[in-house]
């Protein structure tokens, strides 16, 4: 049939009229709301296949198990691993934002020499030159890794020194080295079996050790109970996070912890509340009371409360011989529920904070806390993934960031048993980035690279046939088919745990009561050692009154 223009007009008009009564136009109008939501300048997440990877957090030496959500090849979220023997599903608050660290505006991406831009070539040349000219010191903040052994062997080859910046938890154990000859790195706290824990200012619930370990323990055995199986007594000058949750808070004057420890020890010895016999603290009860600002009775009560339920252990914050001595008095050294020797091995490290005269150059690994400054006038090569600001290093060398390099994770400080895990590299680092180990490998090709070392370590674990491998389920190493299988399991996020420490693997000889700690105890806020905070953490510091923004972190 023939269609006139008039027909067309009529039809289209009719169609238009009909359209009105259908939901279509209204629905479209409604959708404008969704369009007005998605302006081009509003960033939207990148879609992509989502997969779960298991790994270990390598931002500090505590080695918490970490489940990483990956989308389109990028980490988009982290969570704890409930099956992890140490962290037991927990992470520190900062860890939850770690996946965004690699995008931090202060990420180091280029070599910098005295503030100016430079190149790896120059850095390598400069360091090689330094090695020829004189002794070089290599400083490590995370001993025991495959990378660490690379650093160490390089230092030995080039008759330089290998120094270590120990975590505050480990430092608290150093006094026992003198009395027992066992290196602090081989000691740990058997918190799981303790019944009373006296913390002298140690932030047990606020970043002490692996976050999951003690908090979970406390939550199960102490939280909110009037008469808990685990009594947490917090000695603190102010109502700290830990003090406010503790079973009992003992408010003392600032830096009077060791005085209180001595006072308590004196009461224990005088009233024969403990079996141990030995030197008596020189400090009298009256003096202790005067120094701590507590009444003598309060100190007596405290002493009695501590021994009311044993095993009891005292935990100090940083190096404090008198608190260590108190543990000896309490018999907490070398007994279950106290301080135990977790491994036969364990090196005594040379601490890095001692002065380093007549050193040509110092190479600082990225694991060393940002604000650590070596006591030397040597040429400093500082590796770091982020620029924490105000660095006095001559060379700033960009290191791989979070989850960007293959690492192995040795036993964390304070643990009562040995552990071993592997953190595979999940995302590829930006170009222009090198770890200290790779750097040294570049200078001295004869060094065994990290992956080889890890491989051989897995081999050793397998052949030792000791301990259990804890992945989704626990399997004794003895039952594992091959070193290959073991390594694969570890690569997938499983953790090897050694045998529990046998009671009395070591002895402490306390000849005379130690001198009081020199200077105030170091204040350990968090185990976080990266130069910057995750942007979200910074945000929460700003947007809530929950925590004070740490002064030293200019994130």
């Amino acid at each position: 049939m023939k269609v006139s223009r008039r027909d067309l007009l009529v039809w289209s008009a009719g169609a238009a009229a009909g359209l009105i009564v259908t939901p279509v136009p209204w629905k479209l109008l409604d959708d404008t709301s969704i369009w007005s939501q998605n302006w081009p300048w509003i960033p939207q997440p990148t879609r992509g296949p989502v997969e779960m990877k298991q790994s270990v957090c390598t931002l500090c030496p505590q080695g918490c198990g970490m489940r990483v959500r990956m989308a389109a090849g990028w980490p988009v979220g982290v969570a704890g691993v409930s099956s992890h023997p140490v962290s037991r599903g927990a992470l520190c608050p900062l860890g939850f934002g770690a996946h965004q660290l690699n995008w931090h505006p202060q990420r180091l991406k280029t070599v910098r020499h005295r503030g100016g831009a430079s190149a790896w070539g120059d850095a390598q040349a400069a360091f090689a030159k330094a090695c020829k000219e004189g002794p070089v010191v290599v400083i490590d903040g995370y001993p025991g890794r495959a990378a660490s052994s690379m650093l160490e062997s390089f230092a030995q080859k080039h008759d330089g020194g290998y120094r270590v910046v120990l975590s505050a938890e480990t430092r608290a154990l150093t006094p026992y080295e003198k009395w027992s000859g066992v290196p602090a790195s081989a000691l740990g706290y058997d918190l799981e079996n303790a019944k009373t824990i006296v913390s002298f200012g140690a932030p047990l619930l606020d970043g002490w050790g692996a976050p999951g370990r003690f908090t979970r323990l406390w939550a199960e055995r102490a939280a909110g109970m009037n008469d808990p199986q685990l009594r947490l007594i917090q000695v603190d000058e102010s109502l700290s996070r830990t003090a406010s949750r503790a079973w009992q808070w003992v408010p003392v004057r600032a830096s009077a912890e060791s005085a209180l420890a001595a006072g308590v020890a004196r009461v224990l010895l005088e009233e024969r509340l403990v079996a141990w016999r030995g030197p008596m603290p020189s400090l009298t009860l009256a003096e202790a009371a005067e120094r701590t600002g507590l009444s003598a009775d309060a100190i007596r009560d405290l002493a009695r409360t501590i021994v009311a339920r044993t095993p009891a252990v005292a935990i100090g914050n940083g190096i404090d011989p008198e608190i260590a001595a108190l543990n000896v008095v309490l018999g907490a050294a070398a007994t279950p529920g106290g301080i135990v020797r977790r491994s036969k091995r364990g090196a005594a490290y040379v601490p890095a904070d001692a002065a380093m005269p007549s050193v040509r150059a110092a190479l600082i690994d990225a694991s060393v806390p940002w604000d650590f400054a070596p006591q030397t006038d040597a040429e400093v090569f500082r590796f770091a993934a982020w620029d924490g600001g105000s660095s006095r290093a001559d060379w700033l060398l960009p290191a791989p960031g979070f989850l960007e390099e293959l690492m192995d994770v040795p036993t964390a400080p304070t643990l009562a048993a040995e552990t071993y895990a592997i953190a595979p590299s999940l995302t590829k680092p930006p170009a222009e980035v090198q770890s200290a180990a790779q750097f040294l490998g570049g200078i001295d090709p004869s060094l065994t690279p990290v992956d080889k070392i890890i491989h051989s370590r897995c081999g050793n674990l397998f052949h030792a046939r000791a301990g259990t491998l804890i992945g989704r389920e626990a399997t004794p190493v003895a039952k594992i088919a091959s070193a290959q299988a073991l390594e694969e399991q570890l690569q997938k996020g499983a953790v090897w745990v050694g045998e529990a420490a046998r009671p009395g693997g070591w002895r402490c000889e306390l000849k005379e009561w130690p001198a009081a700690a020199s200077g105030p105890p170091e204040n350990l806020t968090a185990t976080w050692s990266a130069p910057v905070l995750p942007p979200l953490a910074t945000k929460l510091y700003q947007e809530s009154s929950l925590r004070e923004m740490p002064a030293r972190r200019n994130a």
Binding site: L29, D30, S33, S36
Partner: protein, 420 residues
Amino acid sequence: MASAALTDSRWITRGEERTSLSRFLLWLAPWTVLLALGAYAAGLCLYFGLNQTNMDNRFAFGLWIFLDLGIIALGAGAFFTGFLVYILKRAELRPILNTAVVVGFICYSGAVGILGIDVGQPLRFWFTFWHPNTHSMLTEVTFCITCYLLVLCLEYIPILLRNRQLRKLPSFLVFEHQLHKLVPVLAGVGTLLSFFHQGSLGGLYGVLRGRPFAFRQGFFIWPSTFFLFILSAIATGPSFLMLVTATVEKVTGRRLVPQEVFRRLGFISGSLLAIYVAAKSIDTLIWLNVTSPSVGFAPWQYYIYKPFGTPILFVEIVLLGLVPAFLLTYRKTAMRRGWLLSAAVLACAGVLLNRFVLTVQTLAVPTLPFDEFLQYTPSWQEVASFGGVIAYGVIIYSLSYRYLPMFAPSKGENTNVSGD
């Protein structure tokens, strides 16, 4: 000579004495500057978003909401006068009618303008009409205010078309004539709308169950504030009209309306205010002794924070309520212009304070036991846009006064035009 110089005398209603154009422009200049500043500030808020203001998550409403509630309350004179003249046939109030319409128009358009900036997504203003939630007082307010602004425009048109030049166009004049005959209908609709949204504005806070400081029980779906707002608005509206007219008389140095009209307005305002004060006092007592304790809030805790101590209650109810009510109704004082006007000032201040307390103090007073009392100081952008609205009002009114027969006897009284 006069014809040579720049003059707008042809636009001024014949027989009305108006100051020279240059002086008029001089008068407008500062206001125009203020208006421009306000427009700039508003622009900033629209472009960069509400981070330009000092409002925040806890003080989610600020100066602007106070402004809205305030001027809408004062603008109530418009619908109420219309109601009195057209529905209750109180012809003696006619001289004030045009002013009432213009003032109402200014207040409402100003309020709507500010609301436009105050929302985070102005582009979505139509959502409210699209997905209306009929349980929300704000929906009611939005609907009513938009309609009523429409009504006010329609009431404003006849006045506008009676301008000396515009009326020369026959079609305008006839349309004006026809529309004017229908104004009573509009007045009726306007009254209905206004009663509702004045009330809903009160309900806005009265329904806030989560803010025991503002929460009130009430009748059916309406909390008591719903009715109190209507009362206070119609009580102070006439007072505000009186003030506006008196101010214009002062500025122009001419008598525009007979003193009798003032006294009449004063009396209406005063007697309504008296009723309001009574109702308000009863409501306050019920709130302090029943409503608030029932949700676990002891009344005293609202008033432990300076500067919002109990004196504010006294000032609101007695000083700015009872006192003006008396002054406006008592013959001896009502006869004296000075007393009358100062009473009107008190009455208007009273309604403003009431709106302030309900908007600002409600947000400042803590609800959670570990909340702290909040401070908030508006940013210059907020203050500037506030000033802009004031300037807008002054300018619109000045123009209307100069070019429109605001106080000239309107037709209909002195002759009956036989319609078609």
